[in-house]
Homo-oligomer: 380 residues x 4
Amino acid sequence: MSRRIRLGMVGGGQGAFIGAVHRIASRLDDKYELVAGAFSSDPEKSKASAAELHIAVDRAYGSYQEMAEAEAKRADKIDAVAIVTPNHLHYPQAKLFLEKGFHVICDKPLTTNVQDAEDLVALVKKSGLIFGLTHNYTGYPMVRQAREMVAAGDLGQIRLVQVEYPQDWMVTAVEKTGHRGAEWRTDPKKSGAGALGDIGSHAFNIASFVSGLTLSELAADVSSMVEGRVVDDNVQVLLRFKGGAKGSLWASQVATGHGNALRLRVFGDKASLFWEQEYPNDLHYNILGQPPRLVVRNGAGSLPVAAHASRVPGGHPEGYLEGFTQIYTDLAEQITAKLEGRAPKPEALLVPTVEHGLDGMRFIHACLESGEKNAGWVTF
Amino acid sequence: MSRRIRLGMVGGGQGAFIGAVHRIASRLDDKYELVAGAFSSDPEKSKASAAELHIAVDRAYGSYQEMAEAEAKRADKIDAVAIVTPNHLHYPQAKLFLEKGFHVICDKPLTTNVQDAEDLVALVKKSGLIFGLTHNYTGYPMVRQAREMVAAGDLGQIRLVQVEYPQDWMVTAVEKTGHRGAEWRTDPKKSGAGALGDIGSHAFNIASFVSGLTLSELAADVSSMVEGRVVDDNVQVLLRFKGGAKGSLWASQVATGHGNALRLRVFGDKASLFWEQEYPNDLHYNILGQPPRLVVRNGAGSLPVAAHASRVPGGHPEGYLEGFTQIYTDLAEQITAKLEGRAPKPEALLVPTVEHGLDGMRFIHACLESGEKNAGWVTF
Amino acid sequence: MSRRIRLGMVGGGQGAFIGAVHRIASRLDDKYELVAGAFSSDPEKSKASAAELHIAVDRAYGSYQEMAEAEAKRADKIDAVAIVTPNHLHYPQAKLFLEKGFHVICDKPLTTNVQDAEDLVALVKKSGLIFGLTHNYTGYPMVRQAREMVAAGDLGQIRLVQVEYPQDWMVTAVEKTGHRGAEWRTDPKKSGAGALGDIGSHAFNIASFVSGLTLSELAADVSSMVEGRVVDDNVQVLLRFKGGAKGSLWASQVATGHGNALRLRVFGDKASLFWEQEYPNDLHYNILGQPPRLVVRNGAGSLPVAAHASRVPGGHPEGYLEGFTQIYTDLAEQITAKLEGRAPKPEALLVPTVEHGLDGMRFIHACLESGEKNAGWVTF
Amino acid sequence: MSRRIRLGMVGGGQGAFIGAVHRIASRLDDKYELVAGAFSSDPEKSKASAAELHIAVDRAYGSYQEMAEAEAKRADKIDAVAIVTPNHLHYPQAKLFLEKGFHVICDKPLTTNVQDAEDLVALVKKSGLIFGLTHNYTGYPMVRQAREMVAAGDLGQIRLVQVEYPQDWMVTAVEKTGHRGAEWRTDPKKSGAGALGDIGSHAFNIASFVSGLTLSELAADVSSMVEGRVVDDNVQVLLRFKGGAKGSLWASQVATGHGNALRLRVFGDKASLFWEQEYPNDLHYNILGQPPRLVVRNGAGSLPVAAHASRVPGGHPEGYLEGFTQIYTDLAEQITAKLEGRAPKPEALLVPTVEHGLDGMRFIHACLESGEKNAGWVTF
């Protein structure tokens, strides 16, 4: 196809962090053009944002409902919509755009409860549309390489998965200081959960993605460490996987000194892997009885699966935005293939789906349930 | 200004590394649209590249001369041209586009000799046009912060500047294996110099940029370590700066085990800084008598000058492409200000200019001269 | 006192790892002379070891009982005995030497069960003798500094303690290959527990030592990952401390790729600390809202408590043996003070005692009990 | 031999840093007993030091001359003397003890000028005695492994040697604050040179030791950066080796932020090695076209030559004192073999000798000469 994919956006108006990230991610590899948007629930703000984004006046919408209606009738209608609103809006928005026949790219977590997630799974299945969930850390080249190495048996039988995601931006009651992102994230009606939804779902997703393991049960000690906070801000989880592997997951937003320190270790009986988000070009690969190796993205030992998700040679670091971009770029291939009536290239199929979103909601729910049972075991 | 800057490109056809980088850099912050190009000296190839890049057929040119002529006559002509060809072509191409009244964004090194560089300096001065040189490492946020900290006196009096830029991609005679980038880089007629031009000029530029020092003299041991190679691939340089500071510069393309390991250390009598390109979000700041500190981009201790050159919060790594983008984005502000007849924002003025390009050519030339004199001192 | 302390040793014959470590630790600061020993249960081997160690023939004993009897009668009898035998022998040996009036330096874990540990606590109390337990990691200068910083309130209120101790030397069934150390460590009668006793007890000890927190309850998922192994080799523990802090402890001997990677993180609401045994001279100190700092032993920010436990300046790394030595050196001061009838210097009082050994046994026992209850909570 | 070597010491009285280090180094592996000493030029101080060190009164000497005389006459005379005085005293003291027939262990640099060094070389040769020079960094296990890997051809042909030794303890005029070690080190009559003698000689020694290369010529920019200082405190040296390899050496005591950061990189056409003194258990091994490897002392990939110089398993860090000890321990084997009339074990022969001391003096002298010639080339 010679044209770019026409993208609309819901949410992501002036000042929003994740909306701007999605826009860069759509643009970096030149696979999309942003042509329409309902950037704010306030129509004036939505239009002001649209103008800044070089969007035509008639496609700057005052609400997502208006956008879905109007775009559905256009000859040059959008191909796909990016949903970048707070968690509780994902479900109605995704539902509507799916019903109108649009492909959907949705921020995580998928919804605020399991039932809505199950509904979306069914809806996507029925519609035949593409639904990509931006668990963006799976877009990092070395995360994909780690997944492939595990799948290829390079690590032997997997015994242990240790994943952690500590941050420190909520060590104090930042939600009471006018910080909008903190406000809705600590309001259970809008977020569904605290650290669990915001970062725990990422940690679970990446651990599952790389290890290829299926969770069988978990026990979660769910805490709110800051006075007055009504959602979880620190969660310690014991994991048991089908087949006998074990692990632990720690997600915290009160871990003083940590920025965005998602770290994953997977241990097999032949080798182990270690990756950390803050230094994402490096994959540590330790074969039992051999010196530890550092595999640098597109350096020696880097695999084609990493090259596919890369733009520049080894030694030229890529980062968060490039990883996020890869999600968009692979979805572009999936959408284009659909438009062209062909099968997508297999390397573009690693993007998290609505099913992964449902898994994430089940994980969050199971943790909350375990937490209410004094960290008792909950079957997944 | 509500519109994007219209950009043309010379060079950067299919398979070229740096052309693709320039295009991403122009696109990432959404300040440019690429509308024209002479992507190859082969007209067919140029047009094939243009088609892939969604460029209108009538603006896919067969030569840079044709492009300059044709664009100059259009109402919607390009605002600026990006020159991403081998070194020996920079001069004639930049000259022509300047003469036609276009702003120029040129890859480094500026030319292949000092005379051409001086001509370009004069031409830019006369024209009043913007001329940006993509010494892209100065676009990294923490490099800019380092510069500002030195300028603010945080390091005290600067005594030492240690800069190195080791790579290993030319440890073997890769230029004899059909590697196009290696071929022209090792052909003195096309490159002007070997490691000195390719990476030594970057090292010198960043050392000057951060330290604020002016070189007074140098002594360079210039080597070709690989049999049959006719350009330098390893250079050790002793540096003496005006005011008494000293330093050393090492550029090597035969440093087995190093990818793209540009590293800069600046030592004052109060504090020192250390930065390395492969982990660019980190700036190591060591105050005499205090524990070493790690300043992370947009983390604690990060300055507004770094935030200006950033897109995402601390802990979300940015990389090579974002640093390169910053050069483009700041040039967009400079060009837009020119088009709007206003002064540019001061934070957009850190981009290397044609004068820095001339400095670089003088540095390369002085090193080669010193090398011919058995590493004797050459006044800068 | 002008003389060195006269030391005897039980265990530690030819080929034993920890015995040689204890001897170096006793010698490095020149506070002890090794004058007697029952180095092996085989009298011939014991004497051969003694000869190599320059010990007089008449003080090379064939059994610990013989040694205790004979030494008790000598005018120049030993002041203290070092017990470096497998775990199940600690109790009878320590008991006998205490009863004979000797100070005791005992390897960890204290015993193989809680009852024996309680007996030793009572016996030590009654005897008035010094009893040091070689939880040697508390001898590291920066571990002691971490403890002091927590106690001084530098971290604010402690919320989280994350400790892990992964190794990989038991990834395969090494106990079936003739490895003596592995044999007794995997025989529950001799070891009492697997990874829990060997390294989990260290992890618990250092976490308690630094954080100053008292455990209130724990839930432990206790695993044997290698076929045929009858003791635990991987343990994940959720920790709850009095006062509300939480944490997790992971001890594993099947963590492929890890050597001896004891790591401790303590998070308060003002700052956090991170220390790892494999790079023991570095203490990472992160104050909320400030750049992370690296405090190097005897470098800037290093405290007198660290200097007390050091021999050489910052930048000259000390290691495992020096940390172990500090336990011995501080015990020398305690023993000397006792011999001289004065109070010991307060800085020498950080050595783990028989009470810490009892705490360790309770921890091991609680983990095993929790493990049997499917990782249910056990009150400590 | 069943007995320990009897050691005497010249210098190293109360408060001296390096004397205490030598004593620990002699004691750690239990190969020596310190039985005599002239610890200070002040007889009272010498005797006070001796008493603290458990040395018999009649062997606490008031001068090194007295000691040499008296010991030579004893039946139980010392086997060897350790000389740990300021540089200018090494020559007369070593000379005297050699003449009296004692083996000598001497601190570095060997002397303060080349002539004295040549005299000592001749004297040692004539005497047939053991002369060990404590370039202690060659005692580190991974430095020895690096040497062996180079010698075995693992790196291919060596092209480049980059060595640096930055410190910051002399950033200010510390020699004017009553710091004794700084006083004599900045007095050219006592030290012979500044940073060159104190640390430059170490850097040169380790570079030669590991690379196996012979220097052919050098050009040195020799600086005194602190006002009023009359010796060098910063030296940048270009190196050319026989056979065509090149390199650079940087020694600085004004490098703010560096503790004791001796770092060596050796690059061949097949692989490279990197080692740094502050993390001495790690050897970075980069094979061209393969992922970088981390070889940990006594971990996977660690060679017998490293095990010979180690005491504890991988993951249990050793440090500066253990490296220093290895020099003593290997000299013990050399001396014992001499006493027993047999050949020493070959693995004990890596200790720097008086010839290496002469090389070091030639290096220092050549740098000073080059410095006086405005960093002109000086043949080595």
